[in-house]
């Protein structure tokens, strides 16, 4: 047991650090991972990484992955977080990509994987429905076979950033007589197909991050079925487990703690920097300690993955603790800025204006960020669902 990086790993770190320094788009610096960026801004770094062959480090090498060890992937995410880099969106690289290379046929792999790696094709996730949230298997969208086509009808919701999407992956019921989990299929859909309508949902932080997606007699070629008909639930669960590993967001939260420290050094209470007051300083300490526990839990998970075990139910810990920490971070940041948490919700700022924010720069959007992060304990299988997974899969209850 040891924590040291080998000389090769240190050389690797220096290499990726230099690559990020020399290639990260200057116009993205400081934008972080906000929800109101343009399609081009979202994809700029992804496209550069695609050319370099680094856009999907976790994929097997034969499908375009990097072949990096778990330690190298850890270094990679640390180095990107240092500059608050806008990482490739998860829908292609972390979600549908692994499903396609694991369960898809050769034509599907050849057709879709290159676009995901290059950042040319934007994917949307068609899972949740108005009546199917945590109880995803109760979904009602149907796909009815008609010759060489499936005809899709129904409504999906929370389709994140679908306003930019080229393709979507949809869970549809293909056998209405089967039990809930059986009879679901995993279907790839070109978002330009007639009958698809994407309507924006405005969120409490003013952003247009998610959508309702309506499907009316959408005709999809049967070759877009992934794997076997009626076995989509298996692929859906596989995808969720993949989504969870990496969801911890340790490197990014570390940057968040640094930022919080900096804000708390500039804010004052009775003439004393907030960070020097016992009460606030200890809140930061507790957060940092919890983050350390998460970091080492993730490292242990990575090590066991490297030993050949796939992401297991333990990844639920990373989801629960990772999101709790992300939420706590925005909560403390909002506390730290005091009165200047109030001005200007993000949605009120007009596009294209040069209007500057009220109060110190670091206070801008701190309330919106806090509001927005409440989503993290709801998405990807709510934290309550994660506890169900732990109690059933690990504790055998």
């Amino acid at each position: 047991m040891n924590l040291e990086f080998s000389p090769e790993e240190i050389a690797f770190r220096d290499e990726v650090r230099a690559f990020i320094r020399d290639n990260y788009p200057k116009e993205l610096i400081g934008l972080g991972s906000r929800e109101d960026l343009t399609r081009e801004q979202f994809l700029a770094w992804h496209k550069i990484l695609g050319k370099k062959g680094w856009s999907a480090p976790a994929w097997p090498k034969k499908y375009g992955g990097t072949g990096w060890t778990s330690t190298q992937r850890y270094i990679w995410s640390e180095e990107n977080a240092r500059v608050d880099a806008m990482m490739p969106l998860p829908f292609g690289v972390s979600m549908v990509g692994p499903v396609i290379y694991t369960f898809g046929n050769e034509e599907q792999k050849a057709k879709h994987l290159p676009g995901i790696l290059a950042g040319d094709v934007w994917w949307a996730q068609g899972y949740s429905e108005p009546g199917a949230g945590s109880d995803l298997a109760s979904l009602k969208t149907t796909a009815v076979r008609d010759g060489d086509y499936y005809v899709l009808n129904g409504q999906k919701t929370w389709t994140t950033l679908a306003q930019h999407a080229d393709w979507g992956f949809f869970l549809c019921r293909t056998d209405p007589t089967a039990k809930a989990q059986e009879g679901i299929s995993f279907i790839l859909v070109d978002m330009k197909t007639p009958g698809i309508e994407v309507r924006p949902i405005k969120l409490i932080d003013g952003t247009h991050e998610v959508n309702e997606t309506w499907l009316t007699d959408v005709r999809v070629p049967v070759e877009n079925l992934v794997g076997k008909e009626n076995e989509g639930w298996t692929y859906a669960k596989f995808l969720l487990a993949h989504e969870r590993s990496g969801i911890a967001g340790v490197a990014r939260s570390k940057r968040g703690v640094e930022r919080l420290r900096s804000i708390a050094s500039q804010e004052t209470l009775d003439g004393t920097p907030l960070i020097k007051t016992d009460e606030f300083a200890r809140k930061i300490s507790q957060l940092e300690i919890d983050l350390t526990a998460l970091e080492f839990t993730e490292l242990r998970t990575l090590a066991s993955e490297a030993a050949g075990k796939g992401p297991g139910p333990e990844s639920s810990i990373l989801k629960i603790k990772g999101t709790e920490i992300q939420q706590r971070l925005t909560e403390l940041t909002l506390e730290a800025v005091g009165n200047y948490g109030a001005p200007y919700a993000r949605g009120m700022m007009k596009d294209g204006t040069n209007e500057i924010g009220v109060g110190p720069d670091y206070s801008n959007f701190s309330a919106d960020n806090y509001f927005n992060m409440r989503k993290t304990s709801i998405y990807g299988g709510s934290n309550e669902i994660q506890r169900n997974i732990i109690s059933k899969m690990i504790l055998g209850l």
């Binding site: 047991m1 300083a281 930061i284 300690i289 242990r300 090590a303 169900n388 109690s391």
Partner: protein, 384 residues
Amino acid sequence: MDFNFTEEQTMIRDSLARLIKDQYDFDTRRKVVASKDGWRPEMWAQFAELGLLAAPFSEEDGGLGGGPIDAMVVMEEFGKGLVVEPFLQTVVLAGGFLRAGTSAQKEDHLAALISGERVFAFAYAEPKGRYNLADLETTATKDGSGWKISGHKAVVIGAPWASHLIVTARTSGGRRDAKGVGVFIVPKDAKGVTTRDYPTVDGRRASEVYFENVTVGADAVIGDPSDSLGLVEKVTDHAIAALCAEACGAMKVANAQTVEYSKTRKQFGTPIGKFQVLQHRMADMFIEHEQSISMTYMATLKLDEDEVARKKAASAAKVRIGQGGRFIGQQSIQIHGGMGMTDELAIGHYFKRLTMIDSEFGNVDHHLKRYTELSAADVAVAAE
């Protein structure tokens, strides 16, 4: 980066687990704890025979060439079995100080420690000092070539079983000064040492130890008698990491027994483990245990880093384990219901041990404060 155990470490774990299973079951432990001596010297001899007492020492010190990870493995198994014998006090603490000793001290004490002949206790706490290692009213004054020690040491765990005490005492300066802390090896039968022995709530034995003009030679001093607070902090950080490992072992068993109980205990016609409110509670207990393991690895692996990194790691781990141990302990009792309150079941004894681990070498509040102060110092250094 690597989280694997060596073959030797796995062997230690397996053979110790077997020994505890065969000879340290809960009923046996209960009898031992209630007996006149409260421990089994013959068990200590078996630990020596298994190589546990030698494992964390270098070969040149007469050990097996291991280190803190070997101690971690032993302590985790001890935690599972609620073992009372003073491995922490003798091997981790006294052994930690003796590593910094002279070759004569090693020759005299370390060999006897490793063979199991000599058992130690660490007399550092004082009635009013709480967790501050420098808050010492016990004094050591120059006496010819040697020293004269006077004072009162509080709750010295394992002292009734020990032949020798490692004692911290003030050699100069004011009561809480960082400078002027010395460390001494004192035979418990030295003239002027008296003890009041008692059992602790978690099945161990401890003493109030009184020193009245106890004279020791110059060879009793470990390190620099005028400036050894750094050594004391370092060795106690090793002890904190080891205690965290013990807590992990106790948490593991407490969680397993609670989950098992919830599968058999029926109310409203169904096993209580089917109730989601309890399932989620037990999921949280599982998470606390996993995070405690992570923090124990982290603290143990950072024991050799620079001083600030080591201290922050030890404090961070002690905070998380204190909080996790309290949660797991309390909820284990809650889910066991009335049965959890009985002395008959093991679960209450795990609860008691986990509760006491929090207050050993500084509780959650103490270490959150220490971590915060170290972070501020860290930032100040970075800004310079």
